[in-house]
């Protein structure tokens, strides 16, 4: 009985806070529209092989007779140079882009958060070493580093992902370190130290959970940036390789045909734009809500 009462006391304010946040999130129509769009995109990503009218076109099927047809009832977005249905490929591209960028951001986040938290809470020479390495990576514009690494690793979607992870983790490390340094001085961490909690537990149980909101904001903004970068790498020929239905690659291939078949570039590019826009809008909305400075009810 006491336990459930205590539990209620602990959880209730958190639930209330979450509800206030949700209310604020819904109040801004743009943000609301954006996160609904993201939910739809995720649904599309999961069910794309089922929704796509020509699932075979996603990979190897081609119908040279139907090449470069303009949009019609049979082919909503027209067809590409091999007669493949662009609508099906754009739908499937959602899955490729979302999975690729989500895994990239998550791995970068995991590396960055771990290293940043260690650097920030341990201090001393460990901090020095980690942050000097981070600084070196930060002295490159992220996309440049990704292009260089991807071009050296050789073109493939996985190499592009690896390149982006290498370029992105330092930003999380820096973010987390600055947060960790300020949290480290707070009473509850000192208290945990005083009762002999191990460093590992302090970092994982006290410091990282208290940095969640800046990480979420950063990650949602980065999702947009990573999707656009992946598409950019694909466009340069350093990302996904044909016949993968990746948006950037589709725009790149469409370059040879777009004067006569504008729909070919239009739809994949628009898909990139819409996805990135949604993530950026949500990130922006979240920042406004989670940042106490701008939070207004």
């Amino acid at each position: 009985m006491i336990n459930s009462l205590m539990l209620k006391k602990v959880i209730e304010p958190k639930i209330r806070e979450l509800r206030v946040s949700m209310f604020l999130l819904n109040k801004n129509m743009l943000t609301k529209a954006a996160y609904i769009a993201i939910i739809i995109l995720i649904v599309i990503a999961i069910f794309s092989p089922l929704i796509a009218p020509y699932p075979g076109d996603i990979y190897i099927d081609n119908h040279p007779k139907n090449s470069l047809l303009s949009p019609s009832v049979e082919h909503f977005f027209g067809t590409d140079e091999l007669g493949r249905d662009i609508f099906s490929r754009v739908l499937y591209g959602t899955r490729i882009s979302l999975i690729a960028s989500l895994s990239t951001v998550l791995i970068a986040l995991l590396i960055g958060v771990t290293l940043g938290a260690i650097a920030g809470s341990m201090g001393g020479w460990i901090d020095e070493v980690i942050m000097r390495i981070t600084d070196i990576f930060l002295s490159f514009p992220p996309l440049l580093l990704a292009i260089t690494i991807a071009s050296l690793l050789g073109p493939s979607l996985n190499n592009a992902k690896a390149a982006l992870i290498i370029a992105w983790w330092p930003w999380y490390a820096r973010l987390l370190r600055s947060q960790a340094i300020s949290i480290k001085e707070r009473q509850f961490v000192k208290a945990a130290e005083a009762i002999g909690t191990s460093q590992l537990k302090i970092i994982s149980r006290h410091i990282i959970p208290n940095c969640i909101s800046p990480i979420i904001i950063q990650a949602s903004m980065d999702m947009g940036a990573v999707i656009i970068s992946l598409a950019g790498l694909g466009f340069l020929g350093l990302g996904a390789q044909p016949p993968i239905a990746e948006w950037g690659l589709m725009v790149a291939t469409s370059r040879n045909y777009f004067m006569n078949a504008p729909w070919y570039s239009l739809f994949p590019g628009f898909a990139i734009f819409l996805t990135v826009l949604s993530f950026n809008l949500v990130g922006d909305g979240l920042r406004e809500i989670l940042d106490p400075k701008t939070r207004k009810i």
Binding site: P141, L143, S151, L236
Partner: protein, 322 residues
């Protein structure tokens, strides 16, 4: 920092899967020739020796020789860099001219229609893939309307009829100061579309930064004081508030210049712009590592330099001065 950049480029260029010596010697080289090339290029030395040589060469401005053309990467870059710098500079200036007023209005009329519009515009501009916009602009303004040329820096006729001025290598600028209006007009004509594409991202970034910085400042006491003196809103916003918001804006500009520099890599090839991006694209296809590394080092160093300039400008602010 510089050392770190060189270290990274050195490591990445040594862990690559393919053999640069084989590339250097050409596709039909015998094993002996490849061996010879390897010792000529210094790949036989132990890594620390190679690294020291590498650092020494870079400090002297020698970025190695292109595996493709066998000519010096630094010399090749000298030809391509000004064209890119021209684009980046113009895009940044435009970002300032459009972004700051937009952010200003947005902050002044917070939550009004203009604010919503400018916020949506700013986020939209950041979310657009440049290479896609470039294709779209080409389609509309070249294919359908015929207002702007499809690509290149000047039309073929101009380059055949006139000798192009070459002072800084930035054609629009050069023809302007030499007073060569015909070339200037032609070059300006060609630069419009690429600059529009490239300026989108910085405009969005500057607008957002100006807005958020101003909103924070407008809550400060000295603004209230200025208001209570009865100073005009124009003076308060345009002088007192804006001046103090420039710090974050300049930081944003540096970041976005780094971004613009890299996005030229994607956009240049679409417009056939003979800049660093095109050079890099060719180098990537040919797996020409010294050239790729040259572009990387050059860009990273200019990025570093830009950050330094931004730090200096920001430190002119007496609140930051130590």
């Amino acid at each position: 920092m510089l050392f770190g950049i060189i270290l990274i480029t050195f490591i990445t260029s040594r862990v690559i899967p393919s053999d640069p010596a084989a590339k250097w010697a050409g596709p039909r080289a015998t094993p002996e020739q490849i061996e010879l090339a390897r010792s000529e290029l210094g790949f036989d030395d132990p890594y620390p020796v190679q690294f020291v040589n590498y650092v020494v060469r870079i400090v002297h401005g020698d970025l190695g020789k292109s595996l493709r053309t066998h000519s010096s990467v630094a010399d090749e870059l000298k030809i391509f860099v000004p064209a890119t710098v021209e684009l980046v500079l113009l895009a940044t200036v435009i970002a300032f001219i459009i972004g700051i007023p937009l952010g200003l209005y947005s902050a002044r009329y917070k939550n009004s229609l203009i604010d919503h519009f400018s916020r949506f515009f700013a986020i939209g501009a950041v979310s657009l893939p440049g290479f896609w916009v470039a294709l779209g602009l080409q389609l509309i303004f070249y294919c359908h309307l015929g207002w702007f040329p499809v690509g290149g820096r000047v039309s073929v006729i101009t380059s055949l009829m006139y000798e192009l001025p070459n002072i800084t290598g930035m054609l629009v600028f050069d023809s302007f100061i030499t007073g060569n209006w015909y070339i200037f007009k032609d070059a300006a004509w060609h630069i419009v579309l690429p600059v529009v594409v490239l300026s989108l991202y910085p405009i969005g970034l500057v607008t957002r930064m100006t807005r958020s910085a101003l909103l924070e400042i407008l809550n400060e006491d000295y603004i209230t004081a200025a208001r209570s003196y009865g100073l005009s809103e124009r003076l308060i916003l345009g002088v007192y508030a804006l001046r103090n918001s420039l710090g974050p804006t300049i930081t944003a500009i540096t970041l976005s210049t780094g971004y613009t520099l890299v996005s030229t890599f994607l956009v240049e090839s679409i417009f056939g712009w003979p800049g660093m991006g095109n050079y890099l694209a060719t180098a990537i296809i040919a797996l020409d590592y010294p050239a790729i590394m040259g572009v990387t080092i050059f860009s990273a160093v200019s990025y570093l330099f830009l950050n330094l300039i931004a730090d200096i400008i920001v430190s002119l602010d007496p609140r930051v001065r130590l």
